[in-house]
């Protein structure tokens, strides 16, 4: 007996856990531990109801430690830490045991085995709590300044939003001037707002805010520091700048898909990407013409570069953009024949209005099978598009056209240097990944680094700006408090055991350990900068004399967990 008074809560997660794990058996096993004062099951442990019950248990039974066996700690560690705080229990006296992702969901075919594993995991969690100690976070003052990387509409609007909440902003743009893609655009769907005008308005607003520092031809070269206080290096216009910032917002946008040579005839005259075609429309005054010849017929081929083997995702904006372009064609060339060759028309939400309008104004839509894309035949002086149209009973059609528009989507921007400097998480699709699309939609797993706009995945201009403003709220929510709590789960050095060998300093990836106190005959001792330590634990095994321990994950706790896992589960 450790003399601890521990409460164990095992979650059904609706049926997510209890459909596969015998929750009652897990609770019963937990009760066998003499230090476990309360053990219960709950339909949803994270629900307010169960949280209130746990809080009253803590008071009623004088609990000094908790184990919650439910889902991944990624989901609810903060939920239960906050609950512990409300109950007056140190939040680090609670252990999250994952019996969903690591147990019920992975062993759906073996209920007994899943139950045995859950019991072992819960016992390990109890052992961990037995060895826990109350930890106090270090509170630091945060820097009231944010770095925004990327000067497209998203970054510009985010900078304005941040400034308007009272923060200082450093806005870094890699190009010669602010504006990004939208700065090159003419009228955009759905409101017809001219991209260039929108950027001009954003520039003007930025100019009126002295708290925004704009650096063009810039790139971020370094990032160091701790949560709420980062030192970033920026090279811009040939000069180097160092800034102290509290949070970073990445809004570096996308690249347009560039078809390969010959892909749907690309490279031949008259075969354009959507971006090139939009530029043609922007330039058009009066007659719609390509290389001096009137355009009387066009074919739009959708999903070029999207929903395919190279880029599995849907680029979201291209259907609506192409339909919008066809409406502009209908304005300047009302008699032009427009053929839309598509897989699924994804003019979602209000964009459906444009789709309906384009059909009303004569656009013809033809659907091709996923595995039977249209073929563009490029003759010397002509273009013919062939397809089997599912809307005409699969009939093969040959469409002689003046122009072929390849409706190309968005691809991730290549920016390995920024990814390296900020350690940005890149998803399978090549775009940056948020922690969770619903719980923490603009934060990344890298402390203090937020993402928004199309660098996160294809978005329209307005959607990108909305996400940029969402990032503003996240940054302001962190910084406007003025202080931040740093995780106390950091490495600690047992000075009397330390030999000053320095192995730990080279093992630390964050440069948070240094040697102190040599000279005067005293031995040198390693010292950890608590604010710089991320609690990664790399130093612990590096120490040859076991003089480093990680608070919250002490050797004592880990040994206890291993012992508990090794206990047999009698069933």
């Amino acid at each position: 007996m450790s003399g601890r008074r521990i409460g164990v809560y095992v979650c059904h997660c609706g049926g997510n856990i209890s459909d596969y794990v015998d929750v009652d058996a897990v609770v019963a096993a937990a009760r066998e531990d003499p230090d476990v004062v309360v053990a219960r099951d709950a339909m949803f442990t994270c629900s307010d109801l169960t949280q209130s019950e746990i809080i009253s248990d803590i008071g009623e039974h004088g609990l000094d430690g908790l184990v919650v066996a439910s889902c991944s700690p990624k989901l609810h560690t903060f939920t239960f830490r906050e609950m512990a705080k409300r109950a007056g229990l140190n939040p680090y006296e609670y252990t999250q045991v994952n019996i969903r992702e690591q147990c019920s969901w992975t062993h759906t075919d073996d209920h007994e085995g899943a139950t045995r594993k859950a019991i072992s995991l819960v016992r390990a969690g109890i052992a961990n709590t037995k060895g826990s100690a109350p930890l106090q976070p270090t509170q630091v003052t945060t820097t009231q300044r944010a770095l925004v990387v990327g000067g497209g509409v998203t970054g510009m609007r985010a900078a304005i939003g941040l400034a308007d909440t009272g923060l200082e902003v450093v806005l870094v743009e890699s190009q010669d001037e602010l504006g990004g893609w939208v700065g090159t655009f003419g009228p955009m769907f759905p409101h017809g707002t001219v991209g260039k005008d929108l950027v001009a308005r954003l520039r003007e607003d930025i100019g009126r805010r002295p708290s925004i520092t704009v650096l063009t031809r810039g790139r971020v070269t370094s990032r160091a520091g701790t949560y709420g206080n980062y030192q970033v290096g920026v090279d811009a216009d040939g000069a180097h700048h160092d800034f102290e910032v509290g949070q970073v917002v990445v809004a570096t946008g996308f690249s347009a898909y560039e078809p390969g040579p010959g892909e749907h005839g690309y490279g031949a005259p008259g075969v354009l990407t959507l971006v090139q075609f939009q530029e043609l429309l922007d330039r058009t005054e009066g007659r719609l013409a390509y290389q001096g010849r009137s355009v009387e017929s066009l074919a739009y081929i959708y999903c070029v570069g999207s929903r395919g083997p190279e880029h599995a995702y849907c680029s979201r904006y291209c259907c609506s953009a192409a339909v919008h372009a066809s409406l502009r064609v209908a304005d300047v060339a009302p008699t032009a024949r427009q053929y839309h060759l598509y897989r699924d028309m994804r003019t979602y939400g209000r964009n459906e209005e444009m789709f309906t309008e384009s059909r009303r104004r004569g656009s013809l839509y033809m659907k091709f099978a996923d595995d039977d894309p249209p073929v563009v035949e490029t003759g010397t002086d002509s273009l013919t598009v062939r397809l089997h149209d599912l809307l005409s009973a699969g009939e093969e059609l040959a469409l002689p056209v003046d122009l072929v528009v390849l409706v190309t989507g968005m691809v991730p921007r290549q920016q390995d240097d920024l990814v390296g400097v900020l350690k940005l998480p890149v998803g399978q699709d090549g775009f940056f990944n948020e922690i969770h699309p619903k719980l923490r939609p603009v934060e990344t797993v890298v402390d203090g680094v937020n993402i928004c706009g199309a660098c996160q995945g294809p978005k329209t201009s307005a959607e990108s700006i909305a996400s940029g403003l969402a990032a503003v709220t996240q940054v302001a929510a962190v910084l406007k408090r003025g202080t931040a709590d740093l995780d106390p789960q950091v490495a600690t050095v047992l000075a009397e055991q330390c030999t000053g060998c320095g192995d730990c300093t080279s093992a630390c990836p964050f440069g948070a350990i240094s040697l102190f106190g040599s000279g005067n005959g005293a031995k040198a001792v390693a010292r950890v900068d608590a604010a710089g330590c991320k609690g990664c634990g790399a130093c612990v095994p590096a120490c040859p004399v076991d003089a480093i321990d990680l608070a919250g994950y002490t050797d004592h706790q880990v040994r206890g967990m291993i012992d508990a896992l090794a206990m047999e589960v009698a069933r």
Binding site: C46, Y313, K367, T473, V478
Partner: protein, 905 residues
């Protein structure tokens, strides 16, 4: 309630968007008020199964946000409340009026134990389970609700209860009878009056007249249900122990009740239940007033009245008969702390025609009826009786005369038959028994010297004057002689003001009281009942007794003479009928009268309801007010948290900015009649499928609602109500494709043998990881069929036949059979925000969504500076988009607050 009246931001709606805006503003340090119209925060997301494309369970994402919102130090949440109006102030801020509906459960006391829910006798469709199952009127919205507090749904007062002048919870005892709780039903009536059996027979039952079922096939037999519970009670136990307190408890006072009619008995009973020592002083040799000495036994048997009176004596009320009271002041001297005078209207009105007092054979009807009940009935054999009057007493008199052997009974009244004060059915019954009616006649005089020989009638041309006052006019030229040997005058009655002149100062014809408090001019003396109101019904007299008892108790315990809380407004019967989906069985409940053409005795005419009839009758109740006020929850609640007297409260708050996050409505699938939703039970909506799949699912498995069969062939009909000009919604609802793809995968997980087919126009999987999710559904085996569904028909076994266009196979119309069809319903705007501001102030798009006036620059900005719209209130959005959009709204609200120098608190 403990909340402030000044906030930086007001967030209207607490779905995923509203919570996100509120949390982010709170995190930034702003004080936020969240107003939610439902009883729990969480909106629609908390009711989902899992969410795309990550397949996280919706609860796991929502509940921590709900908890965080409820516990955030900067966020105050008002549930079951609505913002009624928002007004802009010159300084850029806003003033909002928040209307908080009463929960009827004190949230500070409620522990969320569900005992009230289990005790509740009313079931209604559970809106939080897609109406697939029922919930109770007392309920906690759903297992993860925040706050986890019960509430009682009351649409208003049910018409039967509202129209009961006695204040009996008619709906309450009906629902208790429905539940088989006959003793509890009896006890519920006892909360109002001891006269359960009496009212079960002799009440004119305004409850039934107002019953919503009346407009269908006939009312619930509400009065006879009361008789049923009284009869059963009488058979089971004598007297009752159902009192709140025992007479003689600490602080008890002595009360004298003068008169033992319905008012006096009710007042005495209720005062005794409050713990007071009550004496009823009755001048007559029998207690009961008009109940005992007026109403004939064929309508109200003496034993029934005596059983009711036994309730009082069992509760310690002492009744002294043959005890006339002359001096009220003396009663106070005898040690009574308070006196209630309820002596009714014992003084008969007179015709004022010469001979009335002198001729033999002319009697007052009151005396006649009283003699019968005291065993001194005159023998009317062979007599020709004329009853003068057209009210209920005249009817009683005429029918009693028949029973005493009268050879002929005439009734003479001023009114034409339709205008007679007596109930039409009573007139009809009297005529059926042989009474001859002479309507529109007045009495000009009597014939006969010593003994009456006839009545001289003159034609009455009108009864009321232009102001509606009683002022009969006669055509003296039209006269008629009605020979008769006995005349019984039943033309009204009045209070005995001569006996208590102090109570009727300045020649008043009734006792004068303060109508609010029932106080008389004499200290410590209260009066109530017919003596104050004039002749009325038993139920009204009971209502008077109830009110005077309340006032006397307050007075005796030194409290202000208030607190007599009236009922909630009456529910609109049209609303009640509109919310019923269908009506099964129903038959009218006949009165089961045992009629004789020539009645010869005073046996009770009406038969009892059998238990089976009573239950069937009670089951017909439509639960108009939802809660029946059966008070079972009151008895069940261990925390004493139920409070039926709670009323709505209005609060004015000052806020710096407003975020409108009122969400969307789901398309009502009934509007696509060719899909049969509402008619075919195995056609469900996507929302209902969410509930069938959710962790807190109602049946703990996926089955079809029609017959509980596990479906093997499941079809999805995409774009139900979206992209559809015929229902006026040309827009795409954006998320139905994705939720259907999610459900496909969950169904295949839950029912590995099921075939899932999706009939679609375009699969709109546009979003991060969405098309990959589409591919995943295909890989798992969902069958995608391009083409719209033109109609659905139902087979006898509940299976469904879809007619659809099969585009992939040449575009021919085709048919396929399914066990279950899911309609992927989309979004329509929530029109709630339309009334928030001055007309025209807040702009809407042509479809009714809140307009974003500068979407490309400031998504979420509305036409009003300082007012922002978040998430689906401005158009279809899925959850991730809603969260980002709500964040954008919060960022701009913060900017607005900073600009307006609303410094964070």
């Amino acid at each position: 309630m403990g909340y402030d009246t000044e906030y930086d931001a007001l967030v209207i709606g607490s779905g995923i968007g509203g919570m996100e805006s509120a949390l982010k503003l709170g995190d930034m340090g702003y004080k936020v008020l969240v107003v939610e119209k439902e009883a729990s925060i969480g909106g629609k997301m908390i009711l989902l199964s899992k969410v795309f494309p990550t397949l996280d369970c919706a609860s796991c994402i929502s509940t921590p946000k709900m908890g965080a919102t409820a516990h955030h130090p900067n966020v105050t949440v008002l549930t079951y409340s609505q913002v009624e109006h928002v007004q802009r102030r010159p300084d850029g801020g806003f003033r909002a009026r928040v209307h908080s509906a009463p929960r009827f459960v004190d949230p500070a006391r409620c522990t969320g134990c569900h005992l009230c829910e289990m005790a509740c006798t009313v079931s209604v469709p559970d809106q939080f389970n897609g109406e697939l199952v029922a919930r109770h009127a007392a309920y906690i919205p759903f297992p993860q609700a925040v706050p986890q507090k019960a509430l009682i749904e009351r649409a208003g007062t049910s018409p039967c209860t509202f129209n009961c002048p006695a204040g009996i919870k008619a709906h309450g005892y009906v629902s208790l009878v429905r539940s088989g709780e006959y003793d509890k039903a009896y006890d519920l009536v006892l909360e109002t009056t001891p006269l359960v059996g009496t009212l079960g027979r002799a009440c004119y039952a305004p409850c039934e007249e107002s019953c919503t079922r009346s407009s269908l096939e006939g009312p619930v037999p509400i009065r006879r249900l009361k008789r049923f519970i009284a009869d059963r009670h009488g058979a089971a136990r004598v007297g009752t122990d159902a009192t709140d307190g025992r007479p003689g408890a600490a602080g008890a006072k002595r009360v004298a009740v003068v008169g033992s009619g319905p008012t006096g008995l009710t007042a005495a009973w209720l005062l005794a239940r409050k713990g007071h020592r009550v004496h009823v002083l009755e001048a007559a040799p029998e207690a009961g007033g008009a109940l005992r000495l007026g109403i004939p036994s064929y309508r109200l048997p003496v034993e029934v009245v005596e059983a009711d009176i036994a309730n009082l004596t069992a509760a310690g009320v002492e009744i002294e008969t043959n005890h006339p009271v002359g001096d009220l002041g003396a009663l106070r001297e005898e040690g009574y702390d308070a006196v209630v005078v309820a002596t009714g209207t014992p003084v008969p009105a007179r015709l004022g025609v010469p001979g009335e007092a002198t001729l033999e054979g002319v009697h007052s009807a009151l005396g006649f009826l009283r003699d019968i009940k005291l065993g001194a009935a005159p023998d009317l054999s062979g007599q020709v009786v004329a009853v003068v009057g057209g009210g209920n007493v005249a009817i009683d008199t005429a029918r009693s005369a028949l029973r005493l052997g009268a050879g002929k009974v005439h009734m003479v009244c001023l009114e034409a038959r339709p205008e007679m004060p007596a109930h039409e059915w009573e007139v009809a019954e009297a005529l059926a028994e042989g009474v001859e009616l002479h309507d529109t006649w007045g009495i000009a005089g009597f014939s006969g010297q010593d003994r009456v020989e006839g009545l001289q009638l003159q034609r009455c041309t009108s009864v009321l004057d232009e102001q509606g006052r009683f002022a009969p006019r006669f055509d003296e030229g039209t006269r008629q002689e009605l020979p008769c040997t006995t005349v019984l005058v039943a033309i009204g009655m009045g209070a005995d003001t001569a006996a208590f002149p102090d109570l009727a100062p300045d020649g008043a014809r009734r006792f004068v009281v303060d109508p609010a408090t029932h106080k008389t001019p004499v200290f410590g003396v209260f009066a109530a009942g017919d003596a104050v109101t004039g002749p009325a019904t038993i139920a009204k007299a009971v209502g008077q007794g109830r009110k005077v008892a309340h006032m006397v108790d307050r007075w005796l315990t030194g409290r202000p003479l208030t607190g007599f809380v009236g009922p909630l407004p009456e529910v609109d019967r049209a609303d009640v009928l509109a919310r019923q989906h269908n009506f099964t069985r129903h038959r009218a409940h006949d009165a089961a009268l045992r009629f004789a053409a020539v009645p010869d005795g005073f046996e009770e005419l009406e038969g009892p309801l059998s238990e089976e009839e009573a239950r069937a009758g009670a089951v017909d109740c439509l639960d108009c007010g939802v809660c029946s006020e059966c008070h079972e929850c009151v008895a069940a609640c261990p925390a004493d948290a139920i409070d039926f007297d709670m009323r709505a409260t209005d609060t004015e708050v000052e806020v710096g900015s407003v975020v409108v996050a009122t969400g969307y409505e789901l398309f009502p699938a009934e509007l696509k009649p060719n899909y049969g939703y509402g008619r075919y039970r195995n056609v469900v909506t996507g929302t209902q499928m969410e509930r069938l799949l959710a962790p807190t699912r109602p049946f703990n498995t996926v089955l079809r609602p029609g017959d509980g069969k596990v479906p093997e062939r499941i079809a999805y009909v995409m774009c139900t109500g979206s992209r559809d000009q015929t229902v006026g919604n040309p827009l795409c609802s954006k998320f139905c494709c994705m939720y259907s793809l999610k459900q496909n995968q969950l169904v295949m997980g839950a029912l590995p043998l099921a075939d899932v087919t999706v009939h679609y126009i375009d699969i709109r999987a546009a979003g991060k990881g969405y098309d990959e999710f589409f591919e995943q559904a295909k890989a798992m085996g969902t069958n995608f069929v391009k083409g719209r569904v033109s109609g659905i028909s139902e087979k006898a076994n509940g299976d469904l036949v879809l007619r659809y266009e099969d585009i992939d196979n040449g575009g021919r119309p085709a048919e396929a059979e399914y066990d279950l069809v899911v309609l992927a319903v989309g979004v329509t705007p929530n029109t709630g925000p339309a009334g928030l501001f001055q007309p025209g102030e807040l702009a809407f798009d042509p479809y009714g969504y809140v307009a974003e006036v500068d979407e490309d620059f400031s998504p979420g900005a509305t036409s009003i500076p300082g007012v922002f719209v978040a998430a689906t209130a401005s158009g279809p959005r899925d959850i991730p988009e809603s969260i980002l959009h709500a964040g954008a709204a919060a960022a701009q609200a913060a900017a607005y607050l900073e600009q307006n120098k609303k410094v964070p608190v």
